[in-house]
């Protein structure tokens, strides 16, 4: 019984086609006014000066996989610094001959992450896969079973360490941050105060000092003989740090939800946790995907700070490679490689978040 609608009596035409072709685009975007044309020409000149030398350094005169001596006399990049040292850069101090173990663990982790991206797989079975996967990874890394030699966490280094610290930091930090955000908005004074104090204190110090405190100060408070695993301490610091920042971002998202949503949920008789879980958080978390991603990207790159507590993530292992006199002087190539690595990982996360935002827009 919808309101009767009148039919229109005019013709609905198609919109006109704009200027076509590459030349048309060039004309309207790059050369449309005299100053734009001038800027275009200047910019092209700058590119002409920079790009060919860079290209010839990086690709034409470069060597890709040769022993160190071959790199001494060439004019181009010595990319060999990476392939020649790849086993140390990727696996760090993990004992030679056993490096297949972190290799498989990493592949398993990446495989699980890629599997989890697809929303079709978001069922209870996913939890089971992760549990099995995590246990397998733990056994592979630590050893002790099936005749595998025990490898202490002190020797876990390189890419597996970076991925592990980053992934668990994000996965544990995010829900903790959501709880903190809800706690900060609570009307119960004790909970609210606790959350505010936690958030402001953690945000007030750099991550590097948290790592330092967790590694140096924390053991002083423990009784004689009791010690916490160093990797665990670093992981805890990263989780706690990420959670504080996520909390504030989520709190912003919660503030954006109109009061009517809370009231409608209340008037249906939904409890606090049902309201948050079913009505408010789905909307709030969706709104804050962009800044949340920013925090998670920072968390990923901040894993490189664990160098301060003598843990060897992929940044540190690369640096250590350069301290070898054979390879000194090729730091440009090494750091470009690292930058590419971080960029690829961050870009993958970024593009996933964009896809997620697009998918969640369906319907409204």
């Amino acid at each position: 019984m919808n309101a009767p609608q009148a039919t229109p009596s005019r013709e609905f035409l198609k919109p006109p086609v704009t200027e076509v072709g590459v030349l048309g685009w060039l004309h309207s975007n790059l050369f449309n006014t005299w100053y734009n044309s001038l800027l275009t020409v200047v910019f092209l000149l700058v590119l002409w000066q920079l790009v060919p030398p860079l290209f010839s350094w990086a690709f034409i005169n470069s060597v890709w996989n040769s022993p160190a001596e071959a790199c001494r006399d060439i004019e181009g990049a010595c990319w060999s610094v990476i392939p020649q040292n790849i086993s140390f850069i990727v696996f760090g101090f993990f004992p030679d001959g056993h490096q297949w173990r972190p290799g498989i663990a990493m592949l398993l982790l990446i495989g699980l992450v890629i599997f989890s991206k697809d929303s079709k797989h978001w069922k209870k079975s996913l939890g089971v896969y992760w549990l099995v996967g995590l246990i397998t990874m733990g056994v592979l890394m630590y050893g002790g079973l099936f005749g595998m030699q025990v490898v202490d966490t002190d020797q876990w280094s390189g890419l597996p360490l970076t991925f592990m610290l980053a992934l668990f930091g994000m996965v544990a930090g995010y829900p903790l941050g959501v709880l903190l955000a809800l706690g900060r908005r609570s009307r119960m004074p004790a909970i609210k105060t606790l959350c505010v104090v936690y958030i402001e204190m953690i945000r007030g110090v750099p991550l590097i000092s948290l790592l330092f405190m967790s590694s140096v100060m924390f053991p002083l408070f423990l009784p004689e003989g009791v010690s916490f695993d160093k990797v665990l301490r670093a992981q805890a610091a990263i989780i706690l740090f990420t959670a504080a920042y996520i909390a504030e971002v989520v709190r912003g998202g919660l503030q954006a939800i109109p009061r009517g949503q809370f009231e409608a949920a209340d008037s249906l008789g939904l409890s606090y946790s049902q309201t948050m879980r079913l009505v408010i958080l789905p909307q709030a978390l969706k709104i804050v995907i962009p800044p949340s991603l920013g925090i998670l990207l920072s968390a990923f790159k901040d894993t490189s700070l664990v160098v301060i507590i003598a843990l060897y993530d992929v940044l540190k292992t690369t640096k250590v490679t350069l301290s070898n006199p054979k390879w000194t002087g090729f730091s440009t190539e090494a750091y470009i490689f690292l930058a590419l690595f971080y960029f690829i990982c961050c870009y993958a996360m970024s593009s996933y978040s964009r896809k997620l935002e697009k998918a969640l827009h369906t319907g409204h």
């Binding site: 409608a264 008037s267 008789g269």
Partner: protein
């Protein structure tokens, strides 16, 4: 209070479903509701009107505890409204509310909007909830929109969905807070028609509205509020033809 007893559709000895006694409410220092005494019996349809700021919306929001009262008693179906969250949630399952701005959940489909309450509060299985929801969607003449999202519907359609959503909880009383005030004139009729159907089926309703046509055709009682007090209440005939107080006469002259 004696006046309201005379005006009820059923005999005074039947226990009222809503009983408000000596209720006062303050917003900070501002005394927004003063000495409210109200009894609502089952199947009664009450229209509350008055100038803006008179406290009409605040009054009905106190009844489902969206606002807290500081003095007096509100008893709904035998449960007193206090700070006890269990009582509050119990009352809210028996009292449905329709808002001026619809307040549908934009991230859920229309069907999911309706089944959310029954599934999670009444613990109904999904299939049963879906069937019930479709039944109520048909009742408000909007069944074909079940899988769409609120953003795709017009205002009138959204409000009808909101009414169906409240009905899915099978409330004993429905509160309407200016349900048609945010609608285009063409859509007001479709919503009022649904409300009239509901009234004729015997739903107990408290409606805050400026739609006097609705009051005349369906209400058992019309209540006029001004400056936080109930000034006058009467049958629609008496209320519109024979207003007693000056303020009521002034208000009616402005809107009719």
């Amino acid at each position: 209070m004696n006046e309201s007893e005379k005006m009820t559709a059923t005999s005074p000895s039947e226990k009222p479903i809503i009983e408000v006694t000596g209720m006062h409410k303050w917003f900070g220092d501002f005394h927004v509701l003063s000495d409210i005494n109200l009894q609502v019996h089952l199947k009664e349809r009450i229209v509350i009107c008055g100038p803006s700021g008179s406290g009409k919306s605040t009054l009905i929001r106190c009844i489902n505890r969206l606002e807290e009262h500081q003095r007096g008693q509100i008893i709904i179906n035998g449960t007193e409204l206090t700070n006890d969250i269990k009582n509050i949630e119990k009352v809210r399952t028996e009292v449905g509310m329709v808002f001026q701005h619809f307040n549908l959940f934009p991230h859920l489909s229309i069907l999911d909007n309706l089944t959310l309450g029954p599934i999670w509060v009444r613990k109904m299985p999904k299939k049963e909830a879906d069937e019930m929801a479709m039944m109520y969607l048909e009742k408000v003449h909007i069944a074909e929109q079940a899988l769409k999202f609120p953003g795709q519907l017009s205002g009138g359609q959204q409000q009808r969905v909101a009414i169906a959503r409240s009905l899915c909880m099978k409330p004993k009383v429905m509160l309407f807070d200016e349900p048609t005030s945010a609608l285009d004139p063409e859509m007001i009729k479709e919503v009022l028609d649904v409300m009239i159907e509901l009234a004729e089926e015997g739903m107990t309703m408290l409606v805050v509205t400026h739609e006097m046509g609705f009051a005349k055709s369906v209400a058992d009682r019309v209540m006029f509020m001004d400056f936080g007090e109930i000034v006058e209440q009467n049958t629609p005939q008496e209320f519109f033809d024979n207003p007693q107080h000056e303020r009521t006469k002034l208000f009616l002259s402005q809107i009719l």
